[in-house]
Symmetry: C2
Subunit: 294 residues, 2 copies
């Protein structure tokens, strides 16, 4: 039985996520900053597009959000014409933006004043995970709205988990990104060394991927890294945004993140190489370049 | 049908590996620098112990070696009373020491002059892998001796692969260690951040271990890292030895290993904390300490 839902932000993630909600039988009203994308979405999935997040929220029991960063998120939530202007009492806002834990707590507080629930719900699994409906969703917030929203989220998620109070979803996503960059930089150095040493990189990866060096990144990225192909995947610009959030949060909670800080700087070098849109495995390209010029 | 084999070096790895050869029906002569260990081995597996590597090699068609480092390896191979003093023409030396690619090539040359084959064959899988006979063996050398020795190595290995000419086994092992330290430091920072942020670390690991952050280290080490337990596993001193070899080799082949060099320094801090024998996942202990005092 379909629910009345709104979806704010039809980017590479939001577009297919909203599509899964439509296919699951919900009544979906969409809003996107640029109109052509919402028009395209309506052309593909039906339903209707509106001009402001407030309008989208007006008739919705659930409002899903997936925008760029903290500022975008504030704007569509508490800004003029934002979600909280239109939302009815009892609405649940599910925010899939990867943002700071601070903005999550701030917006949860603002929402609560209007008797609206706000869940921070960043995802992992990337564009492919969104398109195939197999995302992992890490949620911070209250249990009651979580339990109401979870069945809807299932339309595009393989796994949905309440991690703790408001902000906990964002904090968990930061843990994910911190672990990822260690794996990727280690893998990049390993492959770079293998090539410099004249080894058959494919054979080396096959042998070591059975043991203590194994990782998802090794299994899914070594071939493209050796081939120097980075025109896909999770963009360096997005990774820098996420690492910026994690490093800022660590400034508050006192965590010591030397590798994360270093790799963040390496990504700035990839950006300087023109790699803003390259996959985050392009740390390898930076090493190969250092070697050429070194 | 049993072969005549010698085993030189009955440390935590060599002791059970030689045991697997004995159980597989080979006639095993053992040598160890300290006599009590070879006496204990003979007490457990039968056969006999001798006083020098040369004596061990005298009646053997295959000589297995597993000692500490480059110097130990040179000593037992080309030193006085070493393997090449006793080995007959046609013998195959299989060296399981993790050593430099340079010493592998040097000893392969010295062996060839006496018509003896020398394979560099470092392993991964640790003490548990040696005890359970499920090691991964990465081999450098000629194909003919590799094919002769492989069925014997199967006594304690799950996977044995010829990686290329002499030195290629060692180079592959270095790739493994480079990848491992990136994963471990990233995981340590992720867990350290999770604790500082007040997350349920177990829940966070369960959620993110399904995706792009997944690794063998995450699956097998996060619980002990959160508990601060490091009294097991692959010791920090051994990891530093291996990283020293990798960084030295990179000095020659021009590979750029900033993360590896940094984590090597972090391990020196773990040593300064008294962690020489701690598992290499103790990079986490260093972060927790920095946080306490920082």
């Amino acid at each position: 039985m379909g629910e009345r839902v709104a979806f704010v932000g039809l980017g590479v993630m939001g577009y297919p996520m909203a599509g899964h909600l439509a296919r699951a039988g919900h009544e979906v009203v969409v809003y996107n900053r640029t109109r052509d994308k919402s028009a395209r979405w309506v052309g593909e999935f039906g339903h209707r597009a509106v001009d402001t997040p407030a309008e989208a929220a007006k008739d919705a029991d659930y409002v899903f959000v997936c925008v760029g960063n903290d500022d975008d998120l504030r704007q569509v939530t508490t800004g003029r014409g934002g979600i909280l202007e239109g939302a009815n009492s009892g609405t649940v806002v599910v925010d899939h933006t990867t943002a700071s834990a601070n903005v999550a707590r701030e917006l949860e507080g603002a929402a609560r004043e209007r008797d609206v629930a706000f869940l921070d719900a960043p995802v992992s699994g990337g564009q492919a995970g969104a398109e195939n409906g197999v995302l992992t969703v890490m949620i911070g917030g209250q249990i009651e709205p979580f339990e109401r929203a979870a069945p809807l989220i299932d339309a595009y998620a393989r796994s949905t988990r309440l991690m703790g109070p408001s902000g906990s979803g964002q904090l968990t996503k930061m843990v994910n990104q911190i672990c990822v960059v260690g794996v990727v930089q280690g893998l990049a150095e390993g492959l770079h060394f293998a090539l410099a040493a004249g080894l058959d990189a494919q054979a080396a990866m096959e042998v070591i991927s059975k043991g203590a060096a194994q990782s998802w990144q090794m299994e899914n990225r070594y071939e493209t890294m050796v081939a120097g192909r980075y025109d896909f995947g999770f963009a360096v610009d997005w990774m820098r945004k996420d690492l910026g959030i994690a490093l800022e949060e660590a400034r508050r909670n006192g965590a010591h993140l030397p590798l994360t800080a270093l790799v963040d700087q390496f990504y700035s070098e990839v950006q300087a190489m023109g790699g803003n849109r390259w996959d985050s495995s392009s740390l390898m390209a930076r090493l190969e370049k250092s070697s050429e010029t070194g």
